[in-house]
Symmetry: C2
Subunit: 282 residues, 2 copies
């Protein structure tokens, strides 16, 4: 199994079956065996067509699924919490049908800037909900990967340490941690230390520059972390992610706040990632 | 003139005259000659009392003034734009009366996550509005300092390069650039290169760790930038800033998304900053 993954938004403005076919083809052209397919608007997801386009290109889809404030699985309001679990279960079925063997992203809370410090009860609610979702995922032979994100995208899990605590609280074999260097660079005391801490539970390591643009231009030095992954004989996915206002649809730009044109074409990002991973034998 | 500044929120939950007196006293105890006083709710600002408490402690206030979406100076809606200019002029009078000789912060747009990529017209509107505000500031013998912030706090000026462009477009002698390492760490290709670029216009250099907690714990190495400031014989302000959920009022925590307890008491931050600046002879 090729463990290299790349986000479809590297090339296309927003997910659609038509544009997705192009992204899958470009991903494969640069040696990526997996392509991130965001499940946002469930009605617009065509699992069979996605399975077909991925198979045609020779890539496997990696599903992500965000929550909103009205279906926040970390909410202590039973209705809101329940809607979060249900949304995730519905997304899991779509992911399975498109041929994905994992679902990731900010699975543990709403996506977006929060309004207050989370309570222990919020953390527990997320764990209880995700235990149910993990069981469903296991019945499909799928993994869950919890993405650690920065303070502006969630208040619940901003560090590897918090993610490890959550994984232990859920206590399911098929729950992994997803680290993304863009977010780590904002929240961690020490990037390599955070990787070390998450390593026993790591299922996705995403290379993303400090400004989310070209991987070769930016302040994060990926080399020490990539060397560590190689030394640990890490078997999970390694992903590449980048956003540019020149590529993204205004909705996506607004979602991730990528106001600047940081690259004109995704091929440049894909090539940077390919060279970087080749260099480290990953 | 002591050029060391520290944010009052290092110690107090939210600005009030009473809590401000304590922050001023602690700032002075650690050798900071200037204290950041945020001007948010104009009605609650008591300029004469602030001037008195600062004089008593032996510090000078550094005023900051944010804008909201309904008084965004970068708006192309003439009414919204006009309200931005008016708000800044009102804040300037308060700042002058409290004894500040400068006003800074995100002066060029609304504070908070934007919804779209700004246009050239937005950039021009901000410059035109700030030219008027700068003239008013000059008549008070005051400086303006434009803070470069990350993508989640404004869409208009996220890099030193954009700030230089704005300063040149305004074309007033009393407009300076304010760099903050927390924001630079998210947006700049290279922190030292960004400092170099801004240097001819720099009026405020703020030391702020990648997670905004203790200065001694985090991934940003301040040393190369501090050495560069020393070598350049930089004469502007050098500030220290940090936020912790254990100190901040919930409104402030929500504003800056500081969900974690990153220090229990501001004295620890102030001491870190003092040692760091002493070390570099700044």
């Amino acid at each position: 199994m090729n463990r290299r993954s790349i986000h479809s938004y590297t090339w296309i403005p927003k997910w659609s079956t038509k544009d997705g076919a192009y992204a899958a083809e470009r991903a494969a052209a640069f040696g990526y065996g997996q392509l991130v397919v965001p499940i946002r608007d469930h009605d617009s997801i065509e699992p069979a067509a996605i399975a077909a386009l991925c198979e045609r290109a020779g890539v496997r889809p990696v599903a992500t699924s965000p929550l909103q404030v009205d279906n926040d699985i970390s909410s202590t309001d039973p209705e809101v919490h329940r809607r979060g679990v249900e949304r995730h279960c519905a997304a899991l079925a779509l992911a399975r049908d498109m041929g994905a063997d994992r679902m990731g992203g900010i699975l543990y809370s709403a996506f977006g800037k929060a309004s207050k410090v989370p309570s222990d009860a919020n953390f527990q609610a997320a764990a209880d909900g995700l235990r149910i979702v993990a069981e469903r995922a296991a019945s499909y032979g799928m993994l869950l990967a919890l993405e650690v994100v920065n303070r502006y995208e969630s208040n619940l899990i901003n560090t590897a340490e918090q993610a490890v605590r959550m994984v232990k609280l859920i206590g399911a074999d098929n729950v992994r941690i997803h680290l993304d260097t863009f977010h780590m660079n904002i929240e961690e005391n020490d990037l390599l230390g955070a990787l070390e801490l998450a390593m026993p539970h790591l299922g996705y390591f995403e290379i993303d520059q400090n400004h989310r643009g070209r991987l070769t231009e930016g302040s994060i030095d990926f080399a020490p972390m990539l060397r560590r992954l190689k030394a640990a004989d890490y078997r999970g996915l390694i992903g590449v992610e980048a956003f540019s206002s020149a590529v993204s649809h205004p909705d996506i730009t607004a979602g991730v706040a990528s106001w600047r044109n940081l690259f004109d074409h995704g091929d440049d990002v894909a090539r940077d990632g390919q060279l970087l991973l080749d260099q480290h034998g990953l």
